[in-house]
């Protein structure tokens, strides 16, 4: 497969595959559409990633603006630190989720998109209350600024480790009686269930390819990194593109590229270039740190550690467990999707899933990147680690960072912790081979 772009970045060679260019172009186009909304007159919905209703939003011709994604963008562009300070200056506690503060701080400072233009005021806040309590407070705070309509979609949590008919009916009822009428009202577009089916059909295609890509990590060497690399792979499907032909095209390209890497016996592509040696195969639980993303990734690269499965790449759906958007039951399927996201699963389910990944992906260990900001993910992770260690006999490691607050990324600490972890894995191996 041709490499269309290759440029030197410091010492390392950055190679961009077609899929990467495609995604970059999609993101740029989406931000341009968002920032030009005041001129084009397009209406904008803001909503959260887990369990988002992107297909439904598109039925009404609304643009989808995801504040978590903006926070990530600002984190990677090293802007979030200032935004967080700004929010704290305005009275927000240092203790709370930094995504919220990065968003509020950015709003206070002009709310600029990566293209340098201001993001539009949302016409509606679609509060998908899925898998995280903080979402609710976040949009109550944002609503205070924008004074725009807000629609609550309460998605019940899988407290008993399962979804029930009652939970599903509740969501469908909210969709029918509240979400859809409100979106019709805001957009001025009538709901068209066939259009929804069409979009969902398109989603399912991309979902098939996405799962295929994630599962290639079973191979040795793994042609992908299922954490650092895969957060890029989740981009289109978790955000404003699911259901579009662009997203399907992206995953087709990606699949072809990974197929080729696999055929050639190559490891994942990283910012440092191709990953050559794969000494350690890891499962990772928890979101990444965005402010030092590349530095963090490099620590793994330098040690020859490849991530073969991660939970973060499941916050936008557990497609690998078989879920697909189902055009034959569109609203029910949206309900199942919303309930099925990783952070909407109870702790025993999360442990079970990680255990399964450890076994199926033949991992050497579980690494938890515990995020200071995020109670949804973090509360209970120490127990999860112990449980996985007990069930698999493989060592776990625990590091602590934050999503977008650079004050909580201590490179030296993380590196030390990783180094001793890899030594521990080595030692376990020596003991095992001596036995």
């Amino acid at each position: 497969m041709s490499k269309p772009e290759s440029k030197a970045a410091g010492k390392s060679e950055v190679v961009k595959d077609l899929s990467m260019l495609k995604q970059k172009e999609m993101i740029t186009r989406n931000y341009d559409a968002l920032t030009s909304a005041p001129e084009t007159g397009r209406k904008v919905a803001a909503t959260f990633v887990p369990g988002n209703l992107n297909e439904l939003i598109q039925v009404f011709g609304l643009l989808n603006n995801l504040p978590e994604i903006n926070a990530i963008q600002n984190g990677m562009r090293k802007l979030s630190g200032d935004y967080i300070l700004e929010a704290e200056k305005r009275g927000h506690s240092e203790d709370v989720c930094t995504y919220v503060k990065a968003d509020l701080g950015s709003m206070a400072k002009g709310n600029l998109a990566p293209n340098g233009k201001p993001l539009p005021r949302p016409d509606v806040l679609l509060l998908s209350y899925t898998g995280c309590f903080t979402f609710m407070k976040w949009f109550e705070l944002v609503r205070n600024e924008y004074k725009c309509p807000t629609v609550m979609l309460h998605v019940p949590y899988q407290g008993e480790g399962t979804t029930t008919r009652n939970m599903r009916d509740y969501i469908v009822k909210q969709l029918k009686q509240e979400v859809i009428p409100k979106l019709e009202q805001v957009s001025g577009v009538k709901f068209d269930i066939d259009r929804l089916r069409e979009l969902m059909r398109e989603s399912a295609k991309a979902e098939d390819d996405f799962v295929w890509v994630l599962e290639t990590a079973r191979h040795r060497p793994s042609p992908i990194d299922a954490y650092f690399g895969s957060v890029y792979y989740t981009g289109p499907i978790f955000t404003a593109f699911r259901g579009t032909p662009d997203a399907s095209e992206y995953y087709r390209l990606l699949r072809a590229e990974i197929e080729e890497r696999m055929a050639k016996g190559l490891g994942p592509i990283t910012p440092e270039g191709d990953m050559k040696q794969q000494k350690y195969r890891l499962v990772v639980e928890g979101p990444p740190n965005w402010t030092s993303f590349r530095e963090f990734w490099k620590m793994f690269y330098d040690e020859g550690a490849v991530v073969v499965a991660s939970s973060y790449t499941k916050v936008g759906g557990l497609y690998d467990l078989g879920f697909r958007h189902d055009p034959d039951h569109p609203l029910e399927s949206l309900a199942d999707y919303a309930m099925g996201c990783y952070t909407n699963m109870n702790l025993p389910q999360r442990v079970g899933l990680l255990e399964k990944y450890m076994k199926e992906y033949e991992a050497d260990g579980l690494l938890i990147n515990s995020i200071k900001s995020c109670n949804s993910f973090s509360a209970g992770q120490l127990m999860m680690m112990r449980e996985i260690e007990k069930r698999t006999g493989k060592p776990g490691a625990f590091i602590e960072t934050d999503l977008v607050d650079p004050r909580y990324f201590s490179a030296a600490n993380v590196k030390n912790r990783l180094e001793s972890y890899f030594q521990m894995i080595d030692q376990k191996r020596r003991v095992a081979s001596a036995a």
């Binding site: 305005r90 009275g91 927000h92 506690s93 203790d95 709370v96 989720c97 919220v100 509060l127 209350y129 995280c132 309590f133 903080t134 609710m136 407070k137 976040w138 109550e140 705070l141 609503r143 205070n144 004074k147 807000t150 609550m152 979609l153 309460h154 019940p156 949590y157 407290g159 008993e160 009652n166 939970m167 009916d169 509740y170 009822k173 909210q174 009686q177 509240e178 109870n346 702790l347 025993p348 389910q349 999360r350 442990v351 515990s370 200071k372 109670n375 949804s376 973090s378 509360a379 209970g380 992770q381 120490l382 127990m383 449980e387 602590e400």
Partner: protein
Amino acid sequence: MCAAPVPAPSPTAPIVARCQELFDDLDFGAARRWKAAAPGRKVVAFMPVYAPRELVHAAGMLPLGIMGAGESLEVIHGDAYYQSYICRIPRSTLELGITGRLDFVDGFLFPSLCDVIRNLSGIWKLLFPKVYVRYLDVPQNFTPGMADEFWVHELQELREGLGKLAGVEITDDALRDSIAVYNENRRVVREVYAYRAAEPWQAPSSDVYLLMRAGLVLPVEEHTRLLRDWLAAARSEKRQRRDNTRIVLNGVFCEQPPLGLIKAIEMAGCYVVDDDFMLVNRLLIGDVPVEGDPLANLSTAYLTRSEETASKYQPDQAAKGQYIVDAVRRNGAEGVIFAAPSFCDPALLERPMLEERLDRVDVPYIGFKYAENSAQMQPVREQAGTFADSIKLWSTP
């Protein structure tokens, strides 16, 4: 030579002393004794802020409110389960569990207050597989007609689960009786609050706090009697009225501050005239109807007539936070003290919205954070004292 007169013992003192004893007892002796008093009795614990205790009661079981372990229990095991940046209540609650202090508890309900409590429900499932553990997904959609069916159905599942645990069928009539018993309790709870708001010098907040805490561990009938006795005793004595500043205390709905902190606020010259401690005692406003379908009645009461708090969504932007202003007005308060547990997303994210509301109507406030084992009371006392003094100063014509 004449001896100084010995002050007559306060008639409320023995009642408060009993509550203090219940509060101090981290082995939950009262609940254990209740359980041991008759064969087959069961105990069902619950976390803040709201659990439909009527269902537990109707099954003949004892609802037991757990609010962490406070300041006196050294947390040894619990810290191994929680990172330093997570509030303290889940770790001390786990400590209670791991050290066997909750070994008599047969069921445990975890309401949807926040992600920490939510995830604790999963930890409990894994660590204590013999306990009936249920997460209560209390509805967040308050649009009329949207969540009733869902919540009634969830309550029905809970009813079946609890019935199985108790080995009885929870009938509608039993539920109606329990609703009536809790209505009575809620009425007296509100009477105590109203009494304190009217004559706060008669009702020290630390005493009221202990009275309400007792409601978490005693059978409800006994708690109702205790509150009545206390009201009668309090009314029978005259305490010295001070020129204290009347404040509303907000943010204390989950992890509890040490008792010393509540006392420190009072000693700094504040009368607490409203608070959000132990919301479960009065979350439902007014009586729940006894006639008709009991589950539907409980559901409607929650969805349409329950107190606002940080963990509940407010669908109307214009009304967001108004409840703090109402609490100030209703109770003739002069200021608000926001106290929140460290790392508590619900309380700390709610606070700026409440502050904005208070700014609009010019009500002064201060805020600080605590942990259930905070040892330093001096800064709180100083802060609250300065706050109380400044209010007095500025309100003097």
